[in-house]
């Protein structure tokens, strides 16, 4: 048993995380199957978590060493584990390693063991408990979520809040050690973002309810709530699952309807490295859909390609940078004189610069439209029948129309 404590500990930790056990329970189980004892201290030497009763004969010597042995202080400075003999004369050894959270020292992990277990394995065990502490108590709370386990919540964070390569995550590492193969997602993937309609403040209760429904109805997903958005990472998506009536699209519509939410969905993608950009697409689809006020529940980003690209560009550098001087001039003229030149120009360009077609779409006489267009040309000093100028103006007007879009 003692010769393979590292493997046994990883197995117990993994199982504990999957079922949603707390830190104390996982440590107790890990220690009971391996015969080691573990105690985690804060930097003041106070016990945070221990596999034993507080007055145990193993905890006290560890605390004593922390307070009195210089080598423990050196360990904290150098961040390198240290192994000391138990001062109580029991013949056991104590392995200490630092607990580091986001580059800062926050505590000490200690493991008490029989020398037969092996110094190196004991050090690894101490490090593993330190990692587990940071993972579970990193945000100050390790109470299980109401939906999903710690493992799922952690993975959801890594998938939805970060863009780095996930193969380096502790979760992937644990899975690969525990099961012999890394956790695999089957592509294709997609990301959905849900929020309330045009309410003035986010409705956390509705989002939490919706999250529970997602957990039940869309099993191939990870999800979390952040900044007033329910973010859902979908995997194992087939070719038509995101089209209207598709296997994934329909449940999203139902969930959105049921909870009074709206949802933006990214296109399907295969490379996890692109997940950050696709999440941004889903959020932009949601915002654009909400601002359009179409009464639809789900807004696929694939049907809003132009608007999403333009809104992303605007978010990146700011509206004032991307607003064209010609469009601003025309908008200002309209505001001052009560004219509708910007809309007239926009409709003319949308109709492919065909006068009769544009006039009919605006219920105007050809002559009236021609007159207006000439006025616009006089203001702008440009020929918008030139293809390049026409494209520029179409895009510039689309940028201008985004000025009403709210921030995330």
């Amino acid at each position: 048993m003692m010769s393979n404590i590292t493997g046994r500990i990883d197995e117990v930790i993994l199982s504990g995380l999957i079922v949603g056990n707390g830190l104390q329970q996982i440590i107790n189980e890990a220690c009971s199957v391996t015969g080691i004892e573990a105690t985690l201290f804060d930097l003041g030497g106070n016990v945070l978590v221990s596999s034993l009763c507080q007055d145990s004969s193993y905890t006290v010597p560890a605390a004593h060493l922390i307070h009195n042995d210089e080598r423990v202080s050196i360990m904290l400075d150098t961040k390198k584990p240290v192994i000391l003999d138990d001062p109580s004369g029991s013949g056991r050894r104590q392995s200490f390693c630092p607990i580091i959270k986001r580059g800062s020292l926050v505590g000490i992990s200690s493991v008490s063991y029989d020398p037969g277990a092996g110094d190196e394995r004991a050090c690894t065990a101490a490090k593993r408990f330190a990692q587990l502490f940071v993972y579970l108590r990193g945000d100050g709370d390790d109470t299980p979520l109401s939906a999903g386990s710690h493992l799922e919540a952690g993975f959801a964070r890594e998938l939805l809040m970060h863009g780095e390569d996930i193969s380096n995550s502790i979760l992937c590492e644990l899975f690969s050690r525990g099961t012999g193969s890394p956790l695999r997602f089957a592509p294709a993937f997609a990301i959905a973002a849900m929020s309330v309609g045009k309410a003035t403040s986010p409705n956390e209760a509705a989002l939490a309810d919706a999250e529970r429904t997602v957990h039940r109805n869309i099993p191939s997903s990870f999800h979390l709530i952040c900044d007033g958005l329910l973010l859902i990472f979908l995997y194992g998506i087939g070719e038509k699952d995101l089209s209207e009536g598709g296997r994934v699209f329909l449940p999203l519509v139902h969930i959105a309807q049921q909870h009074g939410l709206c949802c933006g969905v990214s296109p399907a993608f295969r490379d996890l490295a692109d997940r950050k950009g696709h999440k941004l697409q889903a959020v932009q689809a949601l915002l654009l859909g909400l601002s359009a006020g179409s009464g639809t529940w789900v807004f696929p980003a694939s049907s809003m390609y132009s608007d999403i690209l333009i809104s992303g560009a605007v978010r990146h550098v700011g509206l004032s940078i991307l607003e064209l001087s010609e469009v601003r001039l025309l908008a200002k003229h309209d505001a001052v004189n009560g004219s509708e030149y910007l809309e007239t120009l926009e409709r003319y360009l949308c109709c492919g610069n065909v006068l009769s077609f544009a006039a009919a779409s605006m219920f105007l006489d050809r002559g009236t439209l021609k007159y207006r267009l000439q006025k616009i040309k006089d203001i702008l000093h440009m020929d918008f029948d030139d293809p390049d100028d026409a494209l520029r103006l179409r895009l510039g007007i689309a940028v201008h129309r985004l000025s009403h879009l709210p921030d995330t």
Partner: protein
């Protein structure tokens, strides 16, 4: 040297002009000396004329060195050497052959503002170098804009701070507007690595010469920022383009030009526009890029920065590009010409030098292969943008390969 130091000190305390300083120094040392700014325009001189050293004589006679002379004699190479050394050096070869001299840069707050030199004649080399170093420091003091608080509030200082990115108070903006009225255009020139600081300063001073309605400054040893002001509505931009085109023919720069704007508070926005134009120009190997002319690419570039490259691709365009690659067709080119020609078969046919019916058939096949209706304007816009993204991503990838 002690006597020389006294002369320098008296000049400073008397608030002398640089010319008066030079007259005093010449009276003391009897050695010819000269100072000219980064555009090779004379600031001060002291030697009997006509002087046998033609390079100095011509600068004084014409007020500045001609561009032809600067280029033919590689003046900028000598000046760059002086700048990089940061202090005076001994020159007696090349254009200085037969006229040994100590020359060095004049620096002010870390910026190169002028050069000065002393003919050595019968003086000691080390003494002349030491004297020239001291001379350059005194010139820097005498040329300082204002040693009081007023120096920092004068409009040139305000303009320079605005060009370098500082935000303007309402009062400063009003002062700027009064001296440099709108409309404005912001231009960023970026040295493509081969030019030194001397060239940068020279080009900046050449562009900002009198009556050109432009103010500018250099930055980071790599950039020149220019603000053109009081532009004429129709002829303003062509004049700017002509001046910049002239610079591009002679010096290795990349240039980005902003859109027009009316408010000095938008200078920082104009700067960002010009930098975006510069970035897009570099991605597509263009030397001079206007924000307005490359607006679509700039939007695309910003979208790529925000979402990432793969996310910005349009699957339909990728499909057509794959068809072209596989079969050697020109499907994308046809689509591009069609969309650019306002979806008129005749216009596209003329651009592609094809018959109208050929274009019509090709468009039909495109519609069938990607399942779209090109008569719908929203679809047309989507594909237009998708094509722009495709070309932009291709040129970025090509540039990275090189």
């Amino acid at each position: 040297m002690d006597g020389l130091r006294t002369v320098f000190l008296e000049s400073i305390l008397s608030n002398d002009s640089v010319q008066t300083l030079f007259d005093r120094v010449y009276a003391f040392m009897k050695l010819p000396l000269i100072c000219f700014d980064v555009s090779f325009a004379v600031v001060a001189y002291a030697f009997p004329r006509p002087y046998s050293y033609t390079h100095w004589e011509d600068i004084v006679a014409y007020g500045r060195a001609s561009e032809k002379t600067i280029v033919e004699n590689e003046y900028l190479t000598y000046q760059e050497f002086m700048y990089k050394k940061g202090s005076s050096s001994y020159f007696d070869s090349g254009t200085c052959a037969g006229f040994p001299q100590a020359c060095g840069p004049v620096m002010q707050d870390g910026r190169l503002i002028a050069y000065c030199g002393i003919m050595i004649e019968d003086a000691g080399i080390n003494e002349a170098i030491e004297a020239n170093d001291l001379l350059s420091q005194v010139i820097s003091v005498l040329l300082r804009p204002g040693r009081s608080e007023e120096g920092s509030t004068c409009v040139e200082a305000i303009a320079e701070r605005a060009l370098l990115g500082d935000s303007l108070s309402l009062e400063s903006a009003a002062k700027l507007c009064a001296s440099y009225p709108p409309p404005y255009v912001f231009v960023t020139l970026c040295s493509s690595g081969k030019s030194g600081v001397s060239t940068l300063e020279y080009v900046c001073s050449a562009l900002c010469a009198d009556k050109k309605r432009v103010i500018g400054c250099s930055s980071d040893g790599q950039y020149i920022y220019l603000l053109y002001y009081g532009l004429h509505p129709s002829s303003g931009l062509p004049v700017i383009m002509a001046a910049l085109g002239d610079i591009l023919r002679k010096h290795p720069f990349d240039i980005g030009v902003s859109d027009c704007f009316d408010n000095p508070s938008e200078i920082s926005g104009g700067k960002i526009q010009s930098m975006l134009a510069l970035s897009v120009g570099r991605a597509s190997a263009q030397k001079l890029t206007l924000f307005q002319e490359h607006y679509a690419e700039i939007l695309g570039y910003c979208a790529i920065e925000y979402f990432g490259r793969n996310v910005c691709r349009l699957p339909e365009i990728d499909l057509l590009a794959a068809t072209d690659a596989r079969r050697g067709t020109e499907v994308l080119k046809t689509l591009e010409a069609y969309l650019r020609g306002f979806r008129r078969h005749t216009t596209a046919a003329a651009a592609l030098c094809l018959h109208k019916n050929t274009v019509s058939k090709r468009i039909q096949r495109i519609e069938e292969s990607i399942g779209v209706d090109l008569s719908d304007s929203k679809t047309a816009d989507r594909l237009s943008l998708g094509l722009i993204m495709h070309r932009l991503l291709e040129s970025i990838a090509e540039k990275e390969r090189l």
